[in-house]
């Protein structure tokens, strides 16, 4: 029996279930306790679990992520929250030069099962608070990077991440916390989703739209728009950015022969670039048009609403891109 719950509640359920299941699981982060979490994900947890397991930390991103990694080395299962992914830059040395390296560097004798929860997103937050660096993390061997779009994935990934033995960058989205979606009832057992694999969420035959996190909803919206005009779009939610499931995209492209990637990060060197590069390698002969990438304008994100609106991709830009790749009639190769 599934119920409709919000992305936020899905995360809360996952945290609670894992904390109840395993004493070693604990939370640390800035304002996750007394304040209730900057995005209210851990509200009430301090009262429920106490200071030992819900640890408000100083504003020390590098220190707290490093301490979480160390605690994980020592046998605990820390889930550390970084208020936003913009601040993860301060901790990135601990994430990339330490968490991602330990297991290899010490020949498998040490591991760092730490989950780093953080929020990307925007909303007139200005140039330093509106970024999303998933592409950076997806570049790094030794990390697992997930970016759930749905409440179900949010819960299932978080539970799996907290039980796994690798460092996981768990990237949420500030504009998705209120989204509601179907999630299995806890009664029906643990919802543990493997940390890999893209999913075809809408079948189509004319063009494939690929995205993740909030971008996935733009793709879905665009697919509905396109349907009105008789264009059948297949929509793929990548869900996990490392390892990246290219096979599923290639499968789809072999059917639709057209691909559009959608992301909220800056276009150059975004994850869409990797998808496009990999797909043209593996499905070259099936592409009837260049792969199009929809991303943010390559500009720091301004505060003013009218300007900010222009920065990020929206449904219409995706529709336009899809029509663009379909409109193109092939010229025989040079």
């Amino acid at each position: 029996m599934a119920r409709e719950i919000s992305y936020r509640d899905a995360l809360r359920e996952a945290l609670r279930e894992e904390m109840d299941r395993d004493e070693r699981v604990f939370l640390m982060g800035e304002d996750i306790g007394a304040y209730g979490g900057s995005y209210v994900v851990t509200n009430g947890f301090l009262e429920e679990y106490g200071r030992k397991r819900v640890r408000d930390t100083p504003i020390s991103e590098l220190g707290i992520v490093g301490a979480a990694v160390g605690a994980a080395m020592g046998g605990l299962r820390p889930i550390v929250e970084l208020m936003t992914i913009n601040f993860s830059l301060l901790a990135i040395d601990q994430i990339v030069n330490h968490a991602a390296k330990l297991h290899y560097m010490f020949a498998g004798t040490i591991s760092a099962p730490v989950v780093i929860r953080t929020a990307s997103g925007w909303g007139q937050l200005g140039p330093t608070h509106s970024q999303t660096f998933e592409g950076w993390y997806a570049h790094v061997p030794g990390l697992r990077v997930v970016m759930p779009a749905t409440p179900r994935d949010a819960k299932g990934f978080l539970k799996t991440a907290s039980r796994g033995n690798d460092p996981v960058m768990f990237i949420e989205h500030s504009l998705l916390y209120r989204n509601r979606g179907e999630v299995e009832d806890p009664e029906d057992g643990d919802l543990l989703l493997p940390l890999e694999g893209a999913e075809v969420r809408r079948e189509g035959t004319d063009v494939t739209l690929v995205s993740w996190s909030r971008g996935y909803y733009l793709a879905m919206g665009a697919a509905e728009e396109l349907a009105k005009e008789g264009i059948s779009a297949e929509v793929i939610d990548m869900r996990v950015l490392r390892p990246l499931d290219i096979a599923t995209v290639v499968e789809s492209v072999k059917k639709t022969n057209h691909l559009v990637t959608v992301e909220e990060s800056w276009r150059s060197l975004g994850v869409g670039a990797e998808i496009a590069a990999a797909v043209q390698e593996e499905a070259f002969d099936y592409l009837d048009a260049p792969i199009a990438r929809v991303g943010s304008l390559e500009i720091p994100v301004p505060y003013a609403r009218n300007l900010e609106r222009l920065i990020f991709p929206d449904r219409d830009k995706v529709v336009e891109a899809a029509k663009g790749v379909l409109a193109r009639n092939l010229v025989p190769a040079g």
């Binding site: 800035e30 100083p58 504003i59 909303g123 200005g126 505060y303 003013a304 009218n306 300007l307």
Partner: protein
């Protein structure tokens, strides 16, 4: 935090105009912030809004002690400093509204006011991030022998960042003319100092860097001004950095989103008794510096100013979309 500024009026040899001006600035900031909150509630302002209500005496006292050539750089809670440094309420409010007439043309919003013509190097939103920048500005002043001191404003929470540590050490080693002004308002967002800082006394953090320091009652504008003057003098004389801790309190939530579950109404009300504005008004009244009528008039004037600022912000145009890509790089295209 009881005030003892009145007695100091003579020592500070302040003219009536100066005293009235300090009051006016605090009143202006208060009125500005209250209107900002109201406009935020109305949806005309969005994103993060951190108001300075209750802490005005620190900003006004410190800025009043600075020379024009001195530099100011602050964290995101920057409205009070911008106004004290001379940014107009119009340009400030228009920025909150995201208008082209805003102090940074709607690019930055609340957290990123700046006005280099007034040596105000801006508000920054990465906690601690501005502290190394301040050390650098101080290096530029020292290197170019400009005799200018940098005042770097941040909170108790920021002292726990590595950026503070690295910048404080560097500033001390190079004897840079920078004042680390720590606004200790007892909380970093929703987290009380005692839960996250090994020492509650921020000035104690200066010891590890061999930096001179002092604590001051941040609700007493004259005490702050006096302490700031001493700190500025220290830096200007080539004695290296100074850490000034201002004991203050945030009367409102951290930002407009704050449910304030982490502190009690009683606590807030207790601290509200130390509201720097009535404290100072009463002092000036009891010292016979000014009359109630004069204060009523000032209050009316600043209220009008702010209402006009709101009007101005509302009437102002949004930024021209065609300018969205301006300012990404200083050198357009190739660099020769």
């Amino acid at each position: 935090m009881t005030s003892s500024g009145g007695s100091r009026i003579k020592e500070l040899a302040l003219e009536k105009d100066d005293l009235i001006d300090l009051y006016r600035q605090m009143a202006l900031i208060r009125a500005f912030e209250e209107h900002a909150e109201e406009q935020y509630a109305r949806g005309r302002i969005a994103g993060f809004l951190h108001v300075y209500i209750g802490e005005e005496a620190t900003g006004v006292g410190v800025v009043s002690a600075m020379q024009e050539r001195d530099h100011l750089i602050t964290h995101y809670r920057d409205h009070g400093y911008a106004l004290a440094r001379g940014v107009t309420p119009e340009a400030a409010m228009a920025e909150l509204f995201g208008k082209a007439t805003g102090v940074v043309h709607g690019r930055g919003g609340s957290m990123h006011f700046s006005d280099v013509t007034k040596n105000f190097w801006g508000g920054y939103a990465i906690v601690g991030g501005l502290i190394p920048l301040a050390a650098g500005l101080a290096l530029a002043s020292q290197y170019q022998e400009q005799d200018a001191v940098v005042v770097c404003v941040f909170g108790d929470g920021a002292t726990n960042t590595g950026a503070f540590h690295e910048a404080a050490n560097l500033a001390s080693v190079w004897k840079l003319p920078v004042i680390f002004l720590v606004e200790n308002n007892l909380y970093g967002m929703g987290t009380a100092v005692e839960y996250v800082s090994a020492v509650n006394d921020m000035s104690r953090k200066a010891i590890a860097y061999d930096i001179a320091s002092a604590r001051v009652d941040g609700q007493d504008v004259l005490a702050v001004r006096e302490a700031a003057q001493a700190a500025l003098e220290h830096c200007r004389s080539g004695n290296g950095p100074f850490l000034l801790e201002s004991l203050t309190y945030r009367f409102r939530g951290h930002s407009m989103a704050d449910p304030e579950a982490y502190r009690s109404k009683e606590e807030v009300n207790r601290y509200r008794k130390d509201d720097p504005i009535p404290l100072f008004r009463n002092k000036l009244l009891s010292d016979g510096v000014a009359t109630q009528e004069e204060f009523d008039q000032i209050d009316a004037e600043v209220l009008k100013q702010v209402e006009q600022a709101v009007e101005f912000a509302e009437q102002s145009p949004v930024p021209d979309p065609s300018t969205i890509a301006d300012f990404i790089l200083a050198d357009s295209g190739a660099v020769h």
